[in-house]
Symmetry: C2
Subunit: 599 residues, 2 copies
């Protein structure tokens, strides 16, 4: 319901909020927050990604930050009107801090703040040159020895990493590294993206041939250039690869292909990293101030060891090494695991007439792609959402505005709907012997993703093969390998020419162990997960994803990644943190994450 | 002024229009048009680009077309509100025909139609797969021998032009060929774009090094993917080249590089062309039904011959061959001509410390870039326009809605403003001896562009060099060349190491003469221009640009091109005409253009 009373009531809260903040009256601020309230701040007030809870949490945070970051001037966003639904007023807001300007979303219950999202959008004096601030390009007026855009770009590429040092090195040039690279470029932060592949986009091209994005296109945009509206809902991997390649080029990202980091070391005294890089055979030493690991939120492949593996006569591949089914027509393949990759690989092998058996080791959460799209994402990321005025940018903010602490409460009913809608499908899977779950608390796929980044399959067809027995299903644990078979703990022998270990990935700090040292990996601890005390996400509660896009216990080391949505949205906050440090702004971090788990 | 009366009055006219059209009552339609009225139709009613004038013109057109194309269901566009200003009501409209759906803009004076633009947007049953109609991409469900996107794309590329024939061949892969290629791809019209360069975008990259687009970025978008908002106002040529290259790739255009057409012949019996192509050394014969020349609206270079040229010891280049100033530092260069290319080349040579003389042969129209942007384009193509809700698509339609017959009346006051604003600048040029003009009727740059495609310079700095005498200016006609100099009719000797002939281009049908035959070139006649009976645009009045984007006197031969704006907007109408013919729709053309001039 839209009425002017709602606007007035919202304005009263904002006025009181602004007054209390300006007066430094923490008690008055506390009084504006509901008992069960959440203030999620993305870099604007805390110089961190941080959710504080309840009036006491707010007070604690402000007691440390108010003097430094001086948030204020909270306003209803121009052109937006607060709306009330089911007793909750929702309002788009803008605000300022000492260093920057922010955007956010506020929800009121009984005229007190229930949820508040504050997200830094730009730094004062360092606004991006976009729209009205875009560069002229041509420098009008004649001048001797003019340097053209091309000459200047070529000179920059030739010098960077040799005569001049980048402020930031990003390790990994998938969508994460590319999105961050684009933002840093735009903010004038000298950066190099390092990637081992031949071309940007090869991270996707090199995967199994039937792979398409599992998320719909509206969820997948990169910053600055959206996919055109003729693009498929689920984009094939090679097309994604082409897009990333062209994006890297036209966004003028300094992207080094065929470049592998051999080692990285932080010097506490100079505050800089020494990064040894093999650049297509050439040894280059980079000395950036900031190091970002964008090596994939999946971390390093988990490759379990079993007795007899070394004498197995067939081939054993981790799913990340599997190149697709073409070589395996007519052959026996055992796929160990039952998450996304396992299902996709099984279906592709079946399509190529391989004899495929899936080994399910533990229960798996399955949702059908169309149900997930319609029920799970449709309100935010779809043509309908766009038609309703929910742009990608707004969708990202709405998504970010739901506190992780209570997000599962919003998710559970959606998955209840899916379970009902697809009851016949799930009955078929259970009849085929497939062990299903819906997450420890029934909150489904997205919470599993945020908590552990695994444990699910978005069904695009493989489940029917299992229901029909076309892909054989065996439950159990591997005991050992024979020369020609995988043998399970119950004695089942599965003959195989190929075994694909779809056994997942470790924590991203495994990369830090490899590239830097075990000591630094342990210092920063586990990456990803919320501390939800559910399977594979041990407590205590963290409130935000561990170590992602925010300061870590290792000075000047950052983790970036996730799906395309996260690469797009959170790259902004990471980029602003790096820019603020480059420019020497005061960036006092509130609530630096403690380490409770090493991996 | 917005009021409900305006909407009602507009609705009354539309209701009457719909009733009259439905009843086939041409007299009733006539009565709705003002005495001095214009109906500009882009392919929807006339299957042509055609402007008819006054009630009689409307009646004549409808008497031929009403039965075939059945326009009707004219409505105020959803979400738009008619507005009245200075006695003119302007209204965005939608409508239908038998074959398609259209969009348009209507202006009423005294509640009668003054201008009406009707533009076909899509063909019924052949709507583009965009937005809600976009493809799924992933084909969910498992299937044996699945063909991936990449395999399918590669197979298509391997077969097209060999095992399968394109319906359309587009000669020339600059922005025109690329924009049309993208639209045809999207409409499912098999097409090949042929271009002689190594890479898409080389049309720009290969030009002189300081070149930037003279039009601002908002005017320059391609269809489907807009330039991001961090792009410069005036984009450097190499950056444009990179964009075109990536665009060609991600839009999946079948683009043959290093491919030159040797000959093309139309077979009246089969209704197809035989096109001989040298594809990077391989001789390929293509047999398309439709042939589009997108070889540049500039046509073939005009290279005048003068006595003594053959014994001149320096170098003589046409401006299109000039590669920039780098080789000419400290040398004497004479640039013949005083339009855009001449000025740009002179400035670049001066910047590289060449000794430069410009030979002005006839008067030239000069406007300063910032004045042109603010006064000439700002209302339609700028950040301000976007902020006012004038999208690129709307701007294109507003632009297209002004009848060519009276367009100069709208232009003259703009150029009067510029003349006043930059009075000091023009005084400086005249003092330096530069001969200025404002077009035969004072209507300035855009009318010159539409009428003759030449005769102007958009000043980005070279004029100041002429004012300051840094680039020397000589007026006169060339009489002959000596061994070391250009000699003018008045005896002036201009010593030169290099002479750049910035002497313009011929009519595009010169390309038809080269590629097809002189007979066909003469059959289609002059390309470009309006028949305005002004310099280089002889009458009689045509009402539309000659031969551009519409049926010509040569069956199945089309001309496409122009600046980025025209390449973007008019490629839609050309693409729809080709699609309609591919699908065998009835496309009776009203008012096929007569030929009055051969070149």
């Amino acid at each position: 319901m839209l009425d002017s009373t709602v606007t007035s009531r919202t304005q009263v809260v904002l006025d009181a909020f602004n007054s209390a903040l300006a007066a430094g009256d923490t008690n008055a601020v506390k009084a504006l927050f509901a008992a069960d309230s959440y203030w999620r701040d993305l870099v604007s007030v805390t110089w961190n990604l941080k959710t504080v809870e309840g009036p006491e949490g707010v007070a604690d945070m402000l007691s440390q930050q108010l003097g430094h970051t001086a948030p204020g001037n909270f306003q209803i966003q121009a052109g937006e009107v607060p709306a009330e639904e089911n007793g909750v007023i929702t309002c788009w807001i803008t605000f300022e801090t000492k260093a920057g300007r922010g955007w956010g979303l506020m929800r009121l219950k009984d005229d007190r703040i229930w949820t508040l999202l504050t997200a830094l959008q730009e730094l004062k004096g360092f606004e991006e040159n976009r729209g009205k601030r875009r560069p002229m390009g041509a420098e009008h007026g004649a001048q001797k020895n003019r340097i053209t855009w091309k000459e200047s770009r070529e000179a920059e590429e030739a010098r960077l990493g040799y005569d001049t040092q980048p402020y930031t090195v990003i390790v990994g040039g998938g969508q994460g590294g590319i999105a961050l690279g684009a933002r840093l470029r735009q903010l004038g932060v000298p950066a190099i993206v390092l990637d081992k592949h031949d071309r940007p986009g090869d991270q996707w091209r090199s995967r199994y041939k039937s792979l398409c994005l599992h998320d719909p296109i509206w969820y997948d945009h990169l910053p600055y250039i959206k996919f055109p509206d003729n693009w498929p809902v689920f984009t094939p991997k090679d097309k994604v690869g082409d897009w990333l390649e062209m994006y890297t080029k036209v966004m003028e990202i300094n992207y080094w292909t065929r470049s592998e980091v051999k080692s990285a070391q932080f010097d506490e005294v100079s505050g800089t990293w020494t990064v040894q890089v093999n650049r297509d055979g050439e040894q280059v030493t980079l000395r950036p101030t900031q190091l970002v690991l964008a090596t994939g939120m999946s971390g390093k492949p988990n490759m379990p060891r079993f007795p007899g593996m070394e004498s197995f006569k067939g081939e054993i591949q981790h799913s990340s090494q599997h190149k697709g089914p073409d070589a395996w027509t007519g052959k026996k393949v055992v796929v160990v695991g039952s998450n996304n990759s396992a299902h996709d690989i099984c279906a592709a092998l079946w399509e190529a007439d391989a004899d495929v058996t899936m080994v399910q080791r533990s229960s798996t959460h399955i949702v059908r792609s169309d149900s997930l799209m319609e029920i799970g994402l449709g309100a935010l990321y779809s043509e309908e959402a766009l038609a309703n005025g929910v742009t990608t940018e707004k969708a990202d903010m709405i998504f970010a505005s739901l506190p992780y602490r209570i997000m599962h409460e919003f998710q559970i009913p959606l998955y209840d709907q899916m379970r009902e809608r697809d009851a016949e499908f799930y009955a078929g899977l259970e009849k085929a012997g497939f062990e299903l779950d819906w997450g420890d608390d029934g909150s489904g796929l997205f919470m599993k993703y945020l908590r552990r980044g695994s444990g699910y399959y978005i069904d695009v067809g493989a489940s029917q093969l299992i229901i029909d027995g076309e892909v054989k299903l065996v439950k159990g644990q591997i005991d050992h390998f024979d020369e020609d078979a995988v043998v399970l703990a119950d004695g089942t022998r599965l003959e195989a020419d190929l075994v694909v270990m779809a056994t997942g990935y470790g924590s991203m700090n495994g990369w830090a162990a490899d590239l830097i040292s075990q000591e630094v990996a342990d210092k920063v601890g586990k990456v990803w997960g919320l501390g939800s005390d559910t399977t594979k996400d041990p407590g205590p509660w963290e409130g935000e994803q561990r170590n992602m896009w925010k300061p870590t216990q290792q000075e000047n080391l950052w983790f970036h990644g996730g799906n395309l949505h996260q690469s797009r949205h959170y790259s902004l906050y990471l980029a602003l943190q790096l820019k603020a440090r480059l420019e020497g702004l005061d960036t006092p971090v509130y609530g630096l994450q403690q380490v409770h788990h090493l991996s």
